[in-house]
Symmetry: C2
Subunit: 189 residues, 2 copies
DNA sequence: CGGGTGCTTGAGTTTGCTCAACGGGCGTGG
DNA sequence: CCACGCCCGTTGAGCAAACTCAAGCACCCG
């Protein structure tokens, strides 16, 4: 499924990446969350206030009707606990991105984004080994994620490439020789 | 208590406002959440990743030791449910602010902030009555909340005043004759 | 071959930042 | 009591980072 929708059911992401976006009346758009496998997708107890979920890559979902899951949550505390944990994790991520959105420069934002994808795709971030991965987002999506324009994203990527921090194989395919240099540019921790 | 701390216990906010901030190594700072009475304050299950809680006004807290609350959560599902609900509410707020931080102009950000405070302080936002309230944050805090500088916040506030959208009595004390005009400037919904 | 999409690059503009000066309120100490 | 320093906020002038607009390239698909 590659469709956009206002999430009205619960879904387990089996593979792929889903973006959560918010939009202003005049079309300005912001991605407010990225969900990877094996996250849950869907808002318990409430309609998700003006947020849209859309796949950015091919996605495999396992979908459950809302009513059933709501009932299950009420009956099994462990399930609620698990969802609670995920909500807290998403909250932490959201707040981390608020720092990025509010206080980092375009260069830092782009480096941050690459760093996040790199560490997410390859969780065992080997100390000094070379990392390689595909971007799950187009330039337009990256811009919407970072609160920038497409052009600025493109320029910053070129700058990182010229500085030797990354290699760009295929527009989508990125190689990071030294993750620490990227982390430095991203101002992480 | 007017102190800054890394929250290591649970607190119930009885009155006042608490800000949650994140900071970069070089001192850049971002407020990632505001908590009003009667919110819970404190991160279940995990140390709050590099987030600091600090009162912005006089605050009355009711504090519980971590161990006891963790035990209570495990025993009473309703308590976990309540905390889960608040986490989801905070997540919605955080994402709403991501849209503001990433995609709105300085003017819209400031209007948005005032609108948020106004509706938060006076939840029964009377249709066409005049609204008046005290800002719980200094200009510096507002800037850190909106990802702007003090100067820009100040300039936007004077602009709103000159345009008759708000009146500024006391630097802290604000009057809003028509909340709808403010909402318009804030690009809300 | 033509059109569409996604990305890059350049030139000029604008928004918000930096730096600096200034003013009011307030507490402290002479 | 006034003088002083400090904090908080405002305002102005100049600058820089990111945006806008425009052109052009590569690739894919009909």
């Amino acid at each position: 499924m590659s469709d956009s929708e206002n999430v009205s059911s619960y879904n387990n992401i089996l593979s792929g990446v889903v973006k959560l976006t918010k939009m202003l009346p005049d079309g300005r758009q912001q991605i407010v969350g990225l969900q990877f496998a094996p996250d849950f997708l869907g808002r318990p107890f409430r309609a998700s206030s003006q947020t849209t979920a859309e796949a950015t890559t091919d996605v495999k979902l396992c979908s459950f009707p809302r009513s059933i899951v709501d009932k299950m949550i009420r009956e099994t505390p462990e399930l609620e606990h698990k969802l609670h944990e995920q909500a807290l994790a998403e909250l932490d991520e959201a707040r981390e991105w608020m720092l990025t959105l509010g206080r980092k420069t375009a260069a830092e934002k782009v480096a941050n984004f690459l760093y996040m994808i790199a560490t997410h795709v390859e969780p065992g971030a080997g100390e000094d080994e070379e990392l390689t991965f595909d971007l799950p987002l187009t330039r337009a999506d990256i811009a919407d994620f970072l609160g920038l324009t497409i052009e600025t994203v493109s320029r910053q990527l070129t700058k990182l490439r010229k500085d030797g921090v990354i290699q760009i194989v295929n527009n989508r395919h990125i190689t990071v020789p030294d993750i620490e240099r990227l982390a430095w540019r991203a101002q992480v921790d």
